[in-house]
Structure formats: structure tokens, C-alpha cells
Symmetry: C2
Subunit: 353 residues, 2 copies
């Protein structure tokens, strides 16, 4: 069990603080506790209010202005809880990291720039006997693995959680469906492909950090391994096939994981790719993109829609879920708000056909 | 002008010695001369015979057994002329590289594993005042660039050379169409995206070596730069959308270069993805894949087919080109054997519409 202080400086909004929110929401599943969140721009506010989570996520966790203050909560780990565009360490964070290291905290980072390779931080970590875990550093074993096209264990079902955009709730949907499937006694594994998923589950691959030539190979290795252990393997999706910057990552995941079934994840009201002038087409068209792309190598139907209804009233949320179901002709659910049952049902129904 | 010895140990067959053949075929365009090819398994044979090139490519260039013998031809550069699966330096090449470095040859390598990072080779290079150019090392400037979605200069035309598989002749087709377009007085640039293209043109990006998140960003930067300089920009394609290992690289190139038009490249008689149990569908289906994937962000029609007819008689080659044209309803050509004229015509016709 870790006591985690999450560094989320200047980024404590629901849509941007992905890693922080994921660890707060699901960390307890693996015994982790978030004891403080660091953000000088929201210091002193209640965390649940700053996040604006309708379920009161973060209630009781203090927001503090800096690492030094966070030490009052006796953390043993400092987690870099946001992912800045480009993945570099802002210079302004260096002091806070050094304070944490000198206080004996282990550092966990999902940045693209590896903190363990920073001479000053690495030297400080050595001097103070703490570890720096760069979650995005590919393992030597997988860093240059070429995909072989090996079939999964017969009887296993790989499920890819695909999305209309980045940050629409793919990881959250996968976690919620995973919990619901486990609760029904299914043999199910969560195959993390992003830093937050890896942080929470303690396992997985930092897909977007792999060299393009070896991305599908690493995803294949992860999926094959999980398919040996579990009957159901939920592969966390990344990006979107229509994302102007990250579509390559997405296709590497789709082809690398070679899913049998897919779940389409979308945020109600999201009309454009975040940060780009790219409209998101209606859900049936997004579904077709994924089915076409998967089908270039192995057919994989989308069997349900997972809606993220953040910011809507319950009534609006219910309408959005119903509309997604009507539009696609598929079972739809908001797994966070209304439960993942219909999605588990859809997966099971499809394999019984 | 460089005098190049090409190390192609154990790989001197037409289908595998991509880099060697590319440099022999097009190096003279930029003043490079291949003075020896090293392959102990073919030493003493005429190179054109070992390659089996119908046009006599390589005639007069000696094949020698090792680097020491190649020094008789007074090279100033040793080029690692093959790309082994996985991209690592085989241990058996180390001696030859050290001999070359000690003899004052600069080293040019397209391997995934960077020779400049090898302590022994780097120390030897320093001691003997030679350079090690790792062609696949991304520039610092582009290594972590996120694609912005910036439109190309109005009046410029980006053309993506897409393929049914790896190694079907995308680079060769792009070079031949480039030469033909230049000969007609068009303003045209060759935007290299692989090690051989970079070696020959002296410029470009090693697309498959980029971190997946930043691949499209680097390709965009390359394309934008070329579109500033040229009216026609021929973007060298990589892999294939239906390649089990490399499809992510391909989609990053398609979306990153945001082409206006595409040329479909295929090798006559290739029925499966090389090395995989994945059938290549008929050309109209391959065409649709590319048009669909490009169209997720920006429509780009395939306007011609470039056929590679290696190993066929002229008569068979002519039949294969005609069949490709009939099947797709598009202009088709074998740019190496019969000239790239029809493809240049197709590009021009499409922009005049």
C-alpha cells in the first residue's frame, strides 16, 4: 500500500487531470491511497469541488500549494499526475521533485521525458535511497519486438476499448467493465496500455512511447500473455483512428491486440477532436472505421457503446445513453453512472451466439 | 561525392538488399559512387548477376569477401547496406566495422540500434577522426513534435506512395516518378521517410524509428517544409495498412503527410504479406483501404498504380501492368521498366480537373 501525493500543478480540471483522477478512483482497488494533491492554483479548495466530479470523487483529500506542504500528510510516493503536451518536465517542477526526493519519497512519472535519465534527479534519488519509476519506459524485452501474428489461446476473448477521441473515458470504461465482469465471477484481466492504467494495475505497456515499428509487437506480447492467464482480456484503448496526431498509436493497438470484440467509448456532447478542427462523425461512422480497420487483419465487431456523461444531469445522461443505443443499434451504458451490466451482457451474448 | 563500400553480408538478393540496391540505383543522382559490395557468400561473382537485376544493375562493381579487401577500391564510406529484422548489429559485423573505422572510413548505418551509441565503435571513431551517421536517429527538433494539423501551402500537392506490403517498390516508384516529373520541368521534391531514401537524398525522416505519439508530427513537419519549397511533394510510403507488424507506421505517414493524391504501389504476383499468413486482397480493395483511412481526416484519391514487375519477362510485365489498370480502372505503369510517364500524366490530369 502506497501513500501517494499527486503533483497536478495548474491542471486540476476534470478533463486534464486524467492520471490523478484515475489513481484516486481506482487506486484503492490495489491498496493505494492518495493523501494529498498538489496544485497551487486550487490550494485550500475541497478536491471534489475542484474536480467537479458529480460522484464527489476526491472528497476529503487536501489540495496543497507545494510538495513541502504535502509532506504533512506523510506520503511515501510522489506521482506526476498530469501529462503535459509533449511530455517534457517543466522547469518549474524541478524544485518540488528535489524536495520530494530529499524527503525520501519515491517518484512515479508518466512523462515522455524520463526523469531517471535526468542527471540531477537521478543523483538525488541515489543519494537519498529512493526510486524513480518512469512508467512510460518500455521494457528491454519488448522495446524492439516485431509482431509475429500469433493467434491468442483458444477460448480467450480479447476486447479492445476503442474511442472517438483521446480522453473520452476508454480506460475508465475498461476498468468499470472489468470490475463488473469480475463481480460476476468471470476470469478477466485488464491489459493497461497507458501510464495511468499501468500505475493502477501495476502492469502493462506504455503503448504511445514505443517506436512505431515495434508498437504492434509489444501490444501483441501483452495481449498474448493476458490471454494465457484470463478468459477475458480487456485491452485499454488509446487515442482514436481519426485523431490527427495519434491515429498511428490507435491502429498499432487495434492490430497488435487483434481483438475478437470491441467496445466503442464516447463522451456525450463531444463534437470535435479535442484541440483540433476535426469533427467527430456520428457514432455509426466511428464504429465502421474501427470495424473496417480491425477487419483489414481480423474481423472484430463493436458490440456495445460506453458513454461518458460527465457534466450532464442524470436525466440528460440517460437520454444520451439511449440516443447512443438507438443511433448504433447496440447496447449502450454509462458504466460509471449507471453500471457496466449491459456491456458485460453484450460481451457474453456475443460469445454465446 | 562519396566512394561507398556497401556491407551486405549474407543478404545479396534482390528482395532483401533494399538499401544496397537503392544506393547503387539512385546514388549517382547525388554524386555517390558504390565502389565495392561486401558479401562473403557471393564474393567474386559479378554483382549484376548476384542481384539478378534485369537491367544489369551493379555491373562492374566488385563483390568482395570482407572490409579489408574492399579497401583496395579506396572507399571513403562504409554503408550498412541491409536492414536485419529487429535492427540490431549482428556481432559478426563488429570486426569489419572496426577495420573500416581504423582505415579512416566514415560509417553510415540505417540500423535501429544506433552504432554511435556503441562504446567500442564510438571510441574507435573518435580515435580515427571519422563520423558515424545513424540515419535512423530522429533529430532532436522533431523527436517529440505533436502533429498540429496545419494545412499545406496552397498550390502545393502532397502525393503519398502507398503500398500493398513492405518492399514492393514504393521508394523506387517515388524516385522514378520524381525523376520523370523533374524531367518535365515540374517543381518536385522527394520527401524520404526511410533510411535508404534519406541516404540517397541526404534529407528526410526515419519514420519507423519515431515514438508512436510523435510519428505523425514529424511527418507533418517534413511535408510542410517540402510543400513550402516545391509544388509537388512525393512522400515515400512505408509498410502497408494491412501489415500485421507495421500498419501503425503506415497510418502515421498517411495522416501525417495529409496527401492530396496517392499512388498505389504493388509487386506483380505478391499474394501475401511477406513473412505472414495474411493474404493481400485485390488491388481495388487495397485502394479502398487507403482512401478510407486517408478520408477519416482528409480525402485523397488513389490516381494511379505503380507496378513492380521484377522477375517477369517484358511480355508478362506488360500483361501485369495492363491487368492492374483494368482491375482498378486507373492508369498503371511499371516506372522502372516502362517509364513513369503515365503516372505523371495521372497526377497532372487530376489537378487540372
Amino acid at each position: 500500500m502506497r501513500r501517494i501525493a499527486v503533483l497536478a500543478e495548474g491542471s486540476l480540471e476534470y478533463q486534464r487531470a486524467k492520471t490523478a483522477i484515475g489513481v484516486i478512483r481506482y487506486g484503492a482497488d490495489v491498496g493505494d491511497q492518495v493523501v494529498a494533491v498538489i496544485d497551487s492554483t486550487h490550494a485550500g479548495q475541497p478536491l471534489d469541488q475542484a474536480l467537479g466530479d458529480p460522484g464527489g470523487l476526491g472528497r476529503g483529500i487536501p489540495i496543497v500549494a507545494g510538495v513541502a506542504t504535502a509532506l504533512d500528510e506523510a506520503p511515501d510516493t510522489l506521482l506526476i499526475g498530469i501529462a503535459p503536451r509533449g511530455g517534457q518536465l517543466p522547469d518549474s517542477w524541478r524544485d518540488g521533485l528535489l524536495v520530494a526526493i530529499r524527503a525520501g519519497l519515491n517518484i512515479v512519472s508518466g512523462l515522455h521525458a524520463f526523469l531517471g535519465d535526468d542527471p540531477e534527479l537521478a543523483a538525488a534519488a541515489r543519494a537519498h535511497g529512493v526510486t524513480i519509476w518512469d512508467v512510460r519506459r518500455p521494457s528491454d524485452e519488448l522495446a524492439m519486438r516485431i509482431r509475429a501474428g500469433t493467434p491468442h489461446r483458444p477460448g480467450s476473448h480479447a476486447v479492445y476499448f476503442c474511442g472517438s477521441d483521446c480522453n473520452v473515458g476508454k480506460m475508465t470504461a475498461a476498468f468499470e467493465v472489468y470490475r463488473a465482469a469480475r463481480a460476476r465471477g468471470l476470469s478477466v484481466g485488464f491489459a493497461a496500455t497507458g501510464q495511468t492504467g499501468i500505475l493502477i494495475s501495476g502492469r502493462g505497456i506504455p503503448a504511445d512511447r514505443f517506436i512505431s515499428d515495434f508498437l504492434a509487437g509489444a501490444v501483441e506480447a501483452l495481449t498474448l500473455e493476458f490471454c494465457q492467464e484470463y478468459d477475458w482480456v480487456f485491452v485499454e484503448g488509446q487515442g482514436s483512428l481519426l485523431h490527427p496526431a495519434y491515429s498511428a498509436v490507435t491502429l498499432g493497438l487495434v492490430h497488435g491486440s487483434a481483438p475478437d470484440l470491441m467496445i466503442l467509448c464516447h463522451q456525450a456532447g463531444r463534437t470535435h477532436i479535442s484541440g483540433y478542427d476535426v469533427p467527430i462523425p456520428p457514432l455509426p461512422a466511428v464504429r465502421r472505421m474501427y470495424e473496417e480497420a480491425a477487419g483489414w487483419l481480423k474481423p472484430a465487431p463493436v458490440v456495445a457503446v460506453a458513454m461518458n456523461t460527465l457534466g450532464l444531469s442524470d436525466e440528460e445522461a440517460r437520454a444520451a445513453v439511449e440516443e447512443a443505443g438507438r443511433e448504433t443499434g447496440l447496447p449502450a451504458a454509462d458504466p460509471v453512472r449507471f453500471g457496466a451490466g449491459p456491456i458485460v451482457d453484450a460481451l457474453l451474448a456475443h460469445t454465446e451466439e
